[in-house]
Symmetry: C2
Subunit: 332 residues, 2 copies
């Protein structure tokens, strides 16, 4: 079975979200633990600014968990920079936690949370953190054109969030919010080659992972109070909705992190947010916060990633998509 | 405890190694399942050649395991290309296995094997694969200068292997070779900035992970028939040996994959091999093969990674190192 059912011991001890200027101007402004007007986060480069986002997010989450960073056994982390350097340089100063580097593009928060959950649930780790980030300027330099070119964006393009999220998991039987199941996705390549249309490239992977998840657990989508992909944006969200509609399955409780983090009417973000930090910040800033308040009891968090690089796009290859789904249940 | 002790159920069902021309000319020539004289592996680019190495290695390992690729529940994979595209494009054609993307630079084989082992050991996965690769030409383009420049190499530099390795793990109590423990490493940054001297950058991480491993299990290094790092090369190997010597601990059974894959006297590889594919191929071509024959009963496989990128080096940053250790025991 593609979906792994946990025993209820992967409990979420604490979480934190950090964002930048665009995130401050968005509808989730009040949900962040820290917002910076300085896109450099007092660092000399955008790349190091992103490391600072991860350090700060992790540090705030540790503080909320009542742990020092050195008391966290392992950090599962990843980002969009080549060779995941935002994460490795962020965690290079943490000389006590094991570091497990991941790459799942914008699905990294779900991937890291899913792996950390399985390994705390079975007791191999007493606690573990899942940490991811993205930075608009670092990602533009990485994947697209120098910002100074002022390149035009298409309507289906997405805005990489300058943000980070961190979750601290603890192996525990106590009541709280815990990871109840994880569905690791399969790669789906539907032949789309336009890096300005990643939502469409990832949507089939999201559809298939969600279908597998519901099928494996013999549940309907409305078993969840909220199903959220991250980050397909507005266009990818409509593709997933249509694919389910074709199957005769209405998705009444479905949204996407890329639509939640920005105001698509007033902010110039085209189809919405993207980047590892987008779904991470929406999870850690909004979703988990609302679960703590009791707004949602059951949430399916489905991280979606576009597994291409600027080299593969330049070589004319299509964009492989992936989606990992993590089910969160509150026993509060 | 940093070291995770497994219950003996993460059994190695099959393994395979693939290499290129330089690997054919090396001392382990007879250990590969497939060797290609064509550095393009019949693909149009070096990057796609590396994906073909992964596909082929995984396919051969599946064949030896008596499984079709679609019967493997999950593939834990990674490589050196930006955004790990060698792996994602290799596995894009496998539409049945879950894909879990990792980035640990040259430590990726140990990282993927360690994670897959923990998750098959606790039964979350019935089986899983760990697959990694590297390609000399793709890595030179990624990290250094265009090959056409004919850049000079320093004596401490290493040669990225054009190779891949795959291990299929099965959750099973049957006798065989199994993963007995895993020590995930912490990042160590000793301030070295020269990407032509990665062995020295990674050696402190290797030393600390090995020390933790021996300390956690209260064993001496000679409990193992072979301790192998991968890939510190000749220079990094001597640094680790010296660090242990300072502690009064002789390492009589210690070697490095970067020294094993090539003949350092006759092949022009400076300090030896490197790249995710180097330690992967030495593990899957030589070590596991010899364990099957009974040459080694207990092996500690310690993958080492240099977690920098060409961007971080260009920005003047040092090279964070990491080392993950996986203990392999044969009950045959």
């Amino acid at each position: 079975m593609q979906t792994k059912i946990l025993s209820g011991k992967a409990r979420i001890l604490a979480f934190a979200a950090v964002g930048g200027e665009m995130e401050r101007d968005g509808p989730l402004s009040g949900c962040f633990d820290f917002l910076s007007d300085d896109q450099y986060f007092a660092q000399p480069t955008w790349e190091r600014a992103e490391s600072e986002i991860q350090r700060r997010t992790f540090s705030i989450a540790c503080g909320k968990a009542g742990l020092s960073p050195s008391e966290v056994e392992a950090v599962f982390a990843g980002d969009l920079q080549s060779q995941s350097t935002a994460s490795s340089f962020a965690m290079a100063e943490n000389n006590a936690s094991a570091y497990i580097g991941l790459y799942g593009a914008c699905s990294t928060m779900a991937e890291s949370l899913g792996l950390a959950a399985l390994l705390t649930d079975c007791g191999h780790f007493g606690n573990a953190a899942a940490v991811t980030s993205s930075h608009f300027c670092a990602a533009e330099r990485q994947f697209r054109l120098p910002l100074e070119y002022g390149g035009q964006r298409s309507k289906t393009s997405q805005w990489t969030a300058t943000a980070g999220g961190a979750v601290i998991l603890q192996s525990s039987d106590e009541p709280g919010i815990y990871v109840s199941s994880v569905t690791f996705g399969r790669i789906r390549d539907s032949g789309i080659k336009d890096p300005m249309n990643m939502g469409a490239a990832m949507a089939p992977a999201a559809y298939e992972t969600l279908r597998s998840h519901f099928g494996d657990l013999s549940i309907e989508p409305d078993w969840y109070d909220l199903i959220v992909t991250g980050d397909l944006g507005d266009f990818g969200h409509s593709v997933v909705t249509e694919l389910f509609a074709k199957d005769g399955i209405p998705l009444n409780n479905y949204n996407d992190c890329g639509r939640l983090i920005y105001d698509l009417e007033t902010q110039d973000v085209c189809a919405g947010g993207s980047g590892c930090g987008c779904s991470a910040a929406v999870l850690c800033g909004y979703i988990l916060r609302e679960m703590t308040k009791g707004t949602f009891k059951r949430v399916l968090f489905a991280g979606t990633g576009a597994l291409m690089s600027s080299t593969s796009s330049a070589q004319g290859l299509s964009i492989p998509g992936i989606c990992h789904a993590v089910a969160l249940v509150s026993s509060l």
